[in-house]
Symmetry: C2
Subunit: 186 residues, 2 copies
Amino acid sequence: MKGGSIELGEVSKNASKRKGVKRGLSIMDFILRIIGGVATLSSAVAMATTNERLPFATNFVQFRAEYDDLPSFVFFVMANSLVCGYLALSLILSILHIVRSTAVKSRILLIILDTVMMGLLAAAASAAASIVYIAHYGNTQANWFPICQQYNSFCERISGSLIGSYIAVALFVIIILLSHVAISRN
Amino acid sequence: MKGGSIELGEVSKNASKRKGVKRGLSIMDFILRIIGGVATLSSAVAMATTNERLPFATNFVQFRAEYDDLPSFVFFVMANSLVCGYLALSLILSILHIVRSTAVKSRILLIILDTVMMGLLAAAASAAASIVYIAHYGNTQANWFPICQQYNSFCERISGSLIGSYIAVALFVIIILLSHVAISRN
């Protein structure tokens, strides 16, 4: 209200500085989304392609281990594919945020979708992880035998495919955090 | 900048209306947190107390089914207890938001913590659910037998305890959504 030309100059300087910070955050958001997309894609592919390899690798033709024998693994592949597709689509909004750094509503929309996707991915990764644990160590109380003693390469693949999912969950936490920082700087 | 007394009056009217809406949102947030806390507490208790009952109920003294036989169930109980404790503590901030509806930073802090807790709870619920599924239906490929044929009441309890967790996950989504609406109305 008591604006002079000097103060106005400082305000616009501050505003452009803020804009620069927000643009930096948006670019980081963009990069993290690409990494997350690659991570979930590799998880989905690693899990989904295991069914083709094993019979030849271990010669258990009558006892084939395929990812779709277990519903948790099917859920894992579906969730990772969905999140990968979502991350690819969200890049459009992410680019919009780099260009127009003052957008708030689209940021909030993205945060909410990010939150839901993070929950879905965390659920899928944990569901698969708990089955992988049983596959590795079995359970004596329930008389579930550790199938990894027979299906070595299958178990290695499914264990490895979890990593990408958990990396993506961690990236989502960072992405959501960055979005909040960007919004609170308005 | 060209404020007249009529416009100023409308602005303050709008502001008080906004304040009322935000207070309503904060009160809803408070109620949802209490329901979520009760849901996670009952989940944790239902899962954790199963180990005491079964031996007497089914007379399988040598084959006792306890929740801590399976690491996924231990994780489930721990995550639910943690989230319940968090929800109880978050009520303090929630009350603060009812009293001071313009607070933004504490809202963002709460949203970020909510997001992490939602991820944790979704992970725990899904990890337990995938084991419950195996317990119910087994898996012929992996030679895992459905233990629910023997442990009836144990299976009923652990299946029921999942409900509270999933309700709490759904409540978290609503809570996060409401917080975003409250912030965007600033």
